[in-house]
Assembly symmetry: C2
Homo-oligomer: 200 residues x 2
């Protein structure tokens, strides 16, 4: 898919867009091949033929480089705030509303589907377990203050990723055209139980 | 794919493993490219260079050809019986136990993971919506006698496929090494609600 240029890099800071692209390409290759833990800023810089300081300058921390390499069109950490604000027993509903508003946005959809495909690709299996889970998904549980987020958030992920796959990637009916309100009412009880319910 | 041999094709001899492989290869190509609905026995036969009657002779109906082409190591329809026998309010628990006993079998796992990858591949997106759902998943709901299986079974699929992806394909912890009993207790309430609960 040609999702690559959905958000074109605006303005040249120190260095050309080519340098930025080269760093991102090196980061993507490394995260896919070696996972999040096995990737270092230094190695990415070496692969891209630039200084490690330049990688930090462009992308900040390794978490941020990872998010940039995923090319998620929104920073998922920005969405945590609204999901967290409010009663904990309605957290799943708020999360699903925010999640669906982003995914159902036609401008966002193609890049998000591309990200989802990358995450689900078995050849890059550590992207999810070592990258997306600790950097994107676990922080939601931590911000919510639930107990054992490392146990509960993968359960949440198992339902949300299944929904993403059927509704957005494979377009399986009735999920593909189900209104957001109905999806929220369908899935919120499941997600809420995984977040805060009694579990074995 | 195991039965493909290096020997040269021997024409239309009945019972030839080569003929059987040629039919399966043609079926796989067609199901992946045209989906279940777009595939005909006649077209598969033509592609394989055999008579349609021979396809029926080897594989029976199009449903059965589809299951053979998927190379699922067990006929999922055989598993429906035990899942259906018993109180409807415990159907999810029985289903999950049978499902996990098959998937956790080390002899079965590699072929099942291969099937799952094929189903989740966006380039063959109709395999799920037009093949696996109507041929494998919907019949479970019909056999259980639930109302609106065409609405409820895709919800079941959205959770089970997410679990398959995280536990078996991507090996995400703690799901990858969670004991079957704990998985059943974790997921049965979700599946049971999708099968028989009040839904919007």
């Amino acid at each position: 898919m040609a999702e690559r240029t959905a958000s074109s890099p605006r303005g040249r800071r120190r260095g050309s867009p080519d340098t930025r692209s080269a760093i991102l390409a090196a980061a993507r290759t490394s995260f896919a091949a070696k996972g999040f833990a096995g990737t270092t800023i230094r190695a990415v810089a070496a692969q891209a033929g630039v200084d490690a300081a330049l990688v930090h300058h462009y992308f900040g921390t390794k978490d941020e480089l990872f998010l940039a390499a995923l090319e998620i069109p929104v920073d998922p950490r920005v969405l945590i705030g609204p999901a967290v604000a409010g009663p904990i027993e309605e957290a799943a509903e708020r999360f699903l509303r925010i999640f669906l508003s982003v995914w159902d946005d036609p401008d966002m959809r193609p890049s998000l589907v591309a990200v989802a495909r990358g995450i689900m690709d078995p050849s890059a299996s550590r992207l999810l377990s070592e990258g997306v889970l600790p950097v994107v998904i676990q922080p939601i549980g931590v911000a919510l203050g639930i107990d054992h987020p490392e146990h509960r958030m993968p359960l949440v992920a198992s339902q949300v990723i299944g929904l993403i796959l059927l509704r957005y990637v494979l377009a399986v009916e009735p999920l593909a055209s189900m209104p957001a309100d109905q999806l929220v009412a369908t899935y919120a009880p499941t997600i809420q139980r995984y977040l805060t319910g009694d579990l074995p």
